[in-house]
Symmetry: C2
Subunit: 220 residues, 2 copies
């Protein structure tokens, strides 16, 4: 059975590139979307320079969103809502994996969540109930995704539908990461806010590529 295609909108950034490399290696057909076909073609060329064996099809964002069975958003926070507004019709009935972290430069080490509570919540509000927004991967160091290393950081997977979260947890596993059901879309606030905390910890210099791992423990 052939795998479902994954369209990555904003596949020009480090995180989009890293996810593309890992999912392509796992056998998923990859589409790279960008604001124009030319930018997407450039992104695919950059991707091949980084990872020559990775196959990806360039498209404009609307075509990419229409073609992908699953759509992933990895654009800078300030372009999140405008990008989604432009592809809303193409997302109907699909899962949107939103990786947006609402950092506000220059103080990217200070949590500054949007008035809606989180970037994930405002995406779900914009897209409505016909799209299953699932947030994930906000805490993963993009640089690590691009290389063949084991990723220690876990993925908090938030969204209002359990089946959609489970598909994203499975996709995380195919990309070499351990995902957890982290609750409804409101809970994306935790993962988004954690990114600023991890930036603070990285700045202290004792830990490289800080991440979080879910741990449990018995009482004895």
């Amino acid at each position: 059975m052939s795998k479902e295609s994954i369209a990555i909108l904003g596949g020009t950034g480090d995180l989009g590139t890293g996810l593309a490399i890992r999912w392509a290696k796992a056998g998923y057909p990859i589409i790279i979307g960008s604001r124009t076909l030319e930018k997407a073609e450039k992104a695919v060329a950059d991707l091949k320079a980084l990872s020559p064996q990775t196959q990806a099809t360039p498209m404009g964002n609307a075509d990419a969103a229409a073609a992908g069975a699953i759509v992933v958003l990895t654009v800078p926070a300030e372009h999140q809502l405008s990008t989604l507004a432009g592809v809303k019709a193409q997302l109907t009935g699909k899962i949107l994996i939103d990786v947006t972290v609402p950092l506000v430069p220059p103080k990217v080490g200070t949590v500054q969540l949007p008035p809606e509570g989180s970037a994930g919540k405002r995406a779900q509000d914009l897209l409505g109930a016909d799209v299953s927004v699932v947030t994930a991967f906000q805490n993963i160091a993009a640089h690590l995704l691009q290389h063949d290393v084991r990723i220690e950081c876990d993925v908090l997977v938030c969204g209002n539908r359990k089946a959609a979260r489970q598909r994203v947890i499975d996709l995380a596993a195919d990309a070499g990461m351990r995902g957890f059901h982290a609750g409804p879309i409101e809970n994306s606030a935790a993962a988004e806010a954690l990114t600023s905390v991890l930036i603070q910890i990285n700045r202290q210099g004792e830990i490289a590529h800080a991440g979080i791992r879910i741990v449990g423990q018995s009482e004895h």
Copy 2:
């Protein structure tokens, strides 16, 4: 050199009790504060039933806040601001360790941060710059604190003054936990929101007493 005294306001709860047991064991004089002296006396009696060797002095909240070199707040979220308003004068020049998690029943597994962004931020706003609010311990399972077990979950320590955060990191170490500088008080949102995520993970039943651990990794 004798250790500084620690006043725990709301020392009647599981978390306050657990911290009291661990800090008393590490040699800190402990004061248990409650709304009335009678309630505080009852809390100390309960504490001794749980941990006979633990010494603690009961006081009303205002007396406790005045007597403690460091003050810790472990009351339910709905009593956070009223309790702090009643002891504001006694906190001047001190560190307040605020453990408040703004859960909103019945949906405690859904992140519902307050309009100020976090419980930590609203405490700092209320108390003003003469009090160093530091938030910590929101993700620790209270039950584990009460027992002599190694705690795997790390402590995210937020506050606007580095020296104050460092003192709380040292106190966390004395209680058997690893603390991290997690940034300014705004970043308390991350730790507070994480508690709902951990509740979700606990509900799934595969992990007991879920917590988070900071991990780093090299690129190779």
